[in-house]
Symmetry: C2
């Protein structure tokens, strides 16, 4: 008997399966915050729902609660004053493990149906989630709505589709009949049970608390595991809203809601104890190399899926669209003040300059023109504030000051503060653009998270390609780009990205940007360079989250 | 244009894909060493081909050769006197890496076709491989032929089928077209390249030099990687024959044969240097917990797929077929003198005995009856020699002596030496059966590889189930079994195996044995308990051996 929610959401599942197979554009979740898509009252309702959380205790009815915790400060100024349950992590692990057998028993169809219902319900909360993401991360509204709600839901659905596809290959049972010559055949009945690996821990980051959390969360859930979500201490609310909805959907379907819990802690030792707990069998992590590597080194009992830092880069060889190239780059460097794991940090430009449709441009001209393009793009304060958002952390502020000081390279364009009329306490900063030489590796060859980019002078295009490949191999990258009018350069860069295992964007000049990836179509991370050991999403992201346990007997 | 070998072997591939999806019985490789299947002269030709290797240098034309190495001693007595190329491991890694781009370029269809051709050619060498496996491992002839040739080929083909299935999901390219309201859509062309993770190392074991090597070898190859095969120092010849054939097929198809090489070394330090080499990106290992754990702990640069030791066990609650149960167990404990990673080591029997179709049997009666069944089964020397084979290592001999001494428990049946008429120097040993109490954990709760088994007295069936589950969780197991006439006991054991993640065989009394697993149908290992972190085969065994590298540009 098929689970009713598996039936209900069949069209969505089939759409997602088709999309991951063909990798064209597709989404069931409207990305524009429009009343047409979400209903006349959705915007107001969602804002009110968000505001209703402020200054309140966020009830979750989780086991092992010992108190209340939480002190999120908004990058837009002020405190959210939301308090979350503080729970003994041992109690959360035990409760998750206890909830797993019933989740196993509902089967892959049941789990898939319930996960699809969760995503549909989260989609209905898109405005509420958008405001929560905006105010905790400092993203501009449009980005917070899109990346925080429908695009995050897309990445969750993508993981559910992959998980379903892999699980659907495992037959519930089979009859094995082996001929024995003239004797009767050997006949056995075999049964195959999909069993979750064990309680999963999903550690969120401060900048994309839903987009980077939903893939691991839904991949683990759909494959039969309990999940403990451990949000970044400054971006708890989007995770809490998500967990509350998931718990509600579970309870509605007769599943113990403690299958999904929220673990809020300020104490790194608690996170470490949780991550290395014998009962935790997978860890999804987005964040710093230091803690990510600690997890990989120490969580021997768990599969670790980590997205870490990298040094994203672009090689400019030549272009037949100089102006739109600069415009595309200006947007990329400005969006969310470069606080994206996919933002370009290094732009390699030949010392002798580049050929363009506007004639030859020297290295210095390229630097100056890119700086001017950024300045022009951000010239209207309301556009600037909408695109830049606010600086999420003091550490990023510090990195901006360091770059502005000239200590890392010649300042082509200094970062400036911009006043945000709506949020006077928001830290709004424009990008800082630096120029340096290829030999200045200590400056540009480590991740400097935030709106800090380098135009690096290389001997020639070949040197740029080689340096790009080395950066990817040694430091990792989620994205690289190339601008060139020459096929042989495009081919050489393509081969370099195969060796270095990084996604390549070629000659982006219009409304697609190197720092954006589109669910179902673009793999986010290859899992093959130091910036990430996994990809959103591919078969490897889901296939090892469950195991098949068989039994057999004579018929 | 489809690769001709992909076309040629399409029926085999489709058969394998169907088999892994339905998990019924299937094989394209005849398991009987018959002239009908393999040709009138196959037996003689194969034996001569094997004998032609003896006392000779095994030429492979590999890079970095510095000399000759090898001194395999046959468990059947005497030395093989075959010398193999000793090659600098750095040269092998470099040559493998250099061969990979062309292997990538041939694409998933080409790689799959060439792998299928390799398997077909190995199948033609089944008699040669059977003799090589027999004489290096000490397996009896029939087992050496079957497990060493067709069944190993089945496991290789199974891995190729999984690898093809996963790779076939990745489209070569797509058109991504995103609507932009009233504006023209954004249109991008995206291309997706399947790229092998990097040079693979496959470390073989001394008892199953092909069956345990082919899954990793073919999984890595089919997904685009070079492979270095590092055989056990006493079972080199089967690996060398395999590598020579693979290199021949590669060369015939215009691929650099150095894609597949043999690394023979007696020096653990060389193996360690190879396994931790920055250029080695996956390691498949079958062998001891000590070295397996070393690999898992130290090979940070590589994916490690390890099959280690475990404590396989059976719970006897009751039976309606006492005699055939004992016969089934006697065969399991005797086959290849228990030198299988799947052989039962511990049999839990309630202190109050068991109900059977022949009346109630006390614990002591079960012990004695099982001992008698083994004695009866091995009463004819020619049957005994064919089933037992020879003891593969001195360490196993030592463990037999220790068990025979009574130091590990009461000796129900002592191991005896049997003379092998054909091979007078063969070390042929019958199983030793011990009795002990559940509290004597230090005796039975570690792997004692070889023909050493314990009938462990437990308080009752429930205690046996609990102990079985704990053994699986703490020490791992590739197989567990149950004999019971009661549904509630079967259900309880089933649930325990879901928690412990181990394959269960129920009431085996005829021609299927707990230590046998059938390719395409039985998962060998679940990858979810300490005995193995991977399974032959499932999607997880192949999906992370390749990465997808995309590129995109505006149309």
């Amino acid at each position: 008997m098929t689970h009713p929610l598996f039936e209900k959401h069949q069209a969505t599942l089939q759409g997602a399966l088709q999309a991951i197979a063909t990798r064209g554009y597709w989404s069931p979740y409207a990305e524009m915050p429009s009343s047409k898509a979400y209903g006349e009252t959705a915007a107001d309702d969602g804002k009110r729902a968000y505001e209703a959380h402020l200054g309140r205790h966020f009830e979750l009815q989780q086991p092992g609660q010992t108190g209340w915790i939480g002190h999120e400060a908004s990058p837009y100024g002020g405190s959210l004053n939301v308090r979350y349950p503080q729970c003994d992590h041992e109690a959360l692990v035990a409760a998750g493990a206890a909830a797993m057998p019933a989740w196993q028993a509902v089967g892959a169809e049941g789990r898939t149906g319930i996960c699809l219902e969760m995503l549909a319900r989260l989609n209905q909360q898109s405005f509420e989630l958008g405001h929560a993401v905006m105010m905790t991360t400092g993203q501009g509204w449009m980005m917070a709505f899109q990346a925080g709600a429908p695009h995050a839901q897309d990445r969750g659905l993508e993981a559910v589709a992959y998980a379903w596809r892999e699980q659907s290959f495992v037959p519930a049972e089979s009859t094995w009949e082996k001929p024995q010559g003239k004797n009767p055949p050997l006949v056995m009945k075999k049964q195959f049970e999909i069993v979750g690996r064990g309680v999963a821990l999903v550690v969120g980051c401060g900048t994309f608390p839903t987009w980077n959390t939903y893939p691991g969360l839904f991949a683990a859930l759909a494959t039969g595991n309990a999940v403990i979500v451990k949000p970044h201490s400054n971006a708890i609310l989007p995770a809490a809203i998500t967990v509350a909805t998931l718990r509600k959907v579970l309870a509605e379907n007769g599943i113990d809601p403690n299958l999904v819990t929220l673990c809020v802690t300020d104490d790194r030792a608690v996170t470490q104890a949780l991550a290395t707990h014998a009962g935790i069998r997978s860890v999804d992590f987005t964040g710093s190399n230091v803690f990510g590597q600690w997890l990989i080194d120490h969580c021997k009992q768990a599969q670790v899926y980590a997205e870490l830092a990298g040094v994203n880069n672009i090689v400019i060889d030549s272009t037949d669209a100089y102006k739109t190239m600069l415009g595309n780059l200006a947007f990329t460097l400005s969006l969310y003040s470069g606080q994206m794991c996919t933002t370009t940090q290094v732009i390699f430009v030949p010392a002798n300059g580049i050929d363009t449709d506007e004639g030859h441009k020297s290295y210095d001209e390229v630097c100056a023109d890119l700086g001017a393009a950024i300045t022009r793009f951000l010239s209207k304060p309301e556009v600037a504030c909408a695109v830049l958002g606010a600086i999420q952390s003091d550490a990023t502020q510090g990195r901006i000051e360091l770059a502005n000081s000239g200590a890392l390279g010649r300042v082509v364009l200094a970062s400036q503060s911009i006043a945000n009329a709506e949020f006077p306490n928001a830290a709004v900063r424009t990008p800082v653009l630096l120029a340096c030489d290829a030999v200045d590796e200590s400056a540009y060859m480590e991740e400097r998270f935030g709106p800090i980019s380098f135009v690096v002078k290389v001997a020639d295009t070949a040197a740029g390609l080689a340096l790009s490949e080395r950066v990817v191999r040694e430091h990792g990258a989620l994205t690289v780009g190339l601008y060139s009018t020459r096929d042989e350069v495009i081919d050489a860069m393509t081969a370099a990205t195969w060796r270095g295992k990084v996604a390549l964007s070629i000659n982006l000049t219009s409304g697609v940007f190197v720092n954006q990836s589109s669910a179902y179509s673009d793999y986010h991370g290859t899992g093959g360079n130091p910036s990430a050991n996994a990809s959103y999403s591919d078969s490897a992201f889901v296939a090892n989250r469950f195991r098949v346990v068989q039994r057999r007997r004579h018929v």
